[in-house]
Amino acid sequence: MQDLSLHLLDIIENSTRAGASLIKISIDADEKKDVLKFKIEDNGSGMDADTLNNALNPFYTSKESREKKVGLGIPLFMQNAELCEGSFHVTSKLGKGTDLEAIFKKSHIDRMPVGSLADTIIGSLIGHAETDFYLKITHNTRDEVFEYEFDTRVLKEELGDIPLTYPDVIQYIMEDVNNGIKNTKMGEI
C-alpha cells in the first residue's frame, strides 16, 4: 500500500466482508501530541481469539482461494504503525464486531502520507450502499481544531428509495466529502 488511505480502504473491506451493517471511522490528527490515529469500529461477525491471532500473523493464509479469510492487509498496516513509533490494537468479539486502532507518530520520517481519504470514503460508502458509515475527522493544529462528520444514515433517510449511485447523489457525496475533508486540512499532513 502506498498510503494510509489505502490501508483504511482495506480495513473497511474487511468490515463489510464480516457483514457489518455499521462502520464507524474516526481519524484524529493532533499536532501538539504529534499523533495520527485511525480507528475503525464495526458491528460485523467478529473473530474468536484464534482467528484474530491469525489475522495479525503475516505468515498465515488458508489460501483455499475463496475460503481465505485473512491476508496481508492487517499485518502490513500493523507493521507500518509500529515502524513509526506507533501502536496497533485489534479487539474483537464473536458475534459483536471488531475494533481496530492504528496510531502513528505523526512526524516520524517513515510515516506514510495520508493519501486521498476522500477517494477511500466516497468509493466505500457508495460501493457498500447496504452498510451505514459514520465518519469523523478531527484535525487539531496548534491553534485551531478542524472537524468533519458524515453520516450515511442521515443521507439515506433523506433519499428514501433513491439509490446512492443516482448521478446527482454521487455528485452530492463527492462534493461534500471532498470539500469536508479538504477543510480539515488533513490531506496536507
Partner: protein, 120 residues
C-alpha cells in the same frame, strides 16, 4: 454535511426521473477491492466509474465494491452483471479502460473484448 434541502431536491428529481423511465438497474458493476486489488489501483477504477456515471448522468446502473475476488494476477478486476446475460469480467483495469467500458459496454451495449478475461 451540506444542507438537507439539497438532498430533498435531488430526491424529487430522481423520483420524477425514475417514474419516467419506469426502470430499475440495467447493469450491476462490481469492482474487486481485495488487498491485492487495492494495491494495484482498484480505488482509482471505482472512482472513475463513479465520475463517469455522475457526468454522463447514467441512471440505470448500480456500482458496488467487494473484497471477494481472487484473481490477483489480473487486478484490478471488474464484473459487469446484466440480467439475463452472461457476466463479463474485465481485468487489468485502469481509469482509461473504465472510460472505454462505460462508453462502449454500459452506454452502447457492446462489451469491450480487448479487456475481457472471463465470461460466465
Amino acid at each position: 454535511m451540506k444542507t438537507l434541502a439539497d438532498l430533498r431536491k435531488i430526491r424529487e428529481k430522481a423520483q420524477q426521473d425514475m417514474k419516467l423511465r419506469n426502470a430499475g438497474s440495467r447493469f450491476k458493476i462490481v469492482v474487486g477491492m481485495g488487498t491485492s486489488g487495492i494495491a494495484m489501483g482498484a480505488r482509482e477504477v471505482m472512482k472513475t466509474f463513479l465520475d463517469e456515471i455522475a457526468t454522463r448522468q447514467i441512471v440505470d446502473v448500480v456500482v458496488s465494491q467487494t473484497g471477494e475476488k481472487g484473481l490477483s494476477s489480473m487486478e484490478p478486476v471488474v464484473d459487469i452483471i446484466e440480467e439475463g446475460k452472461e457476466t463479463i469480467t474485465y481485468g487489468n483495469m485502469n481509469s482509461e479502460k473504465v472510460k472505454r467500458v462505460v462508453s462502449e459496454h454500459i452506454v452502447n451495449g457492446q462489451p469491450v473484448n480487448d479487456y475481457i478475461i472471463s465470461r460466465d
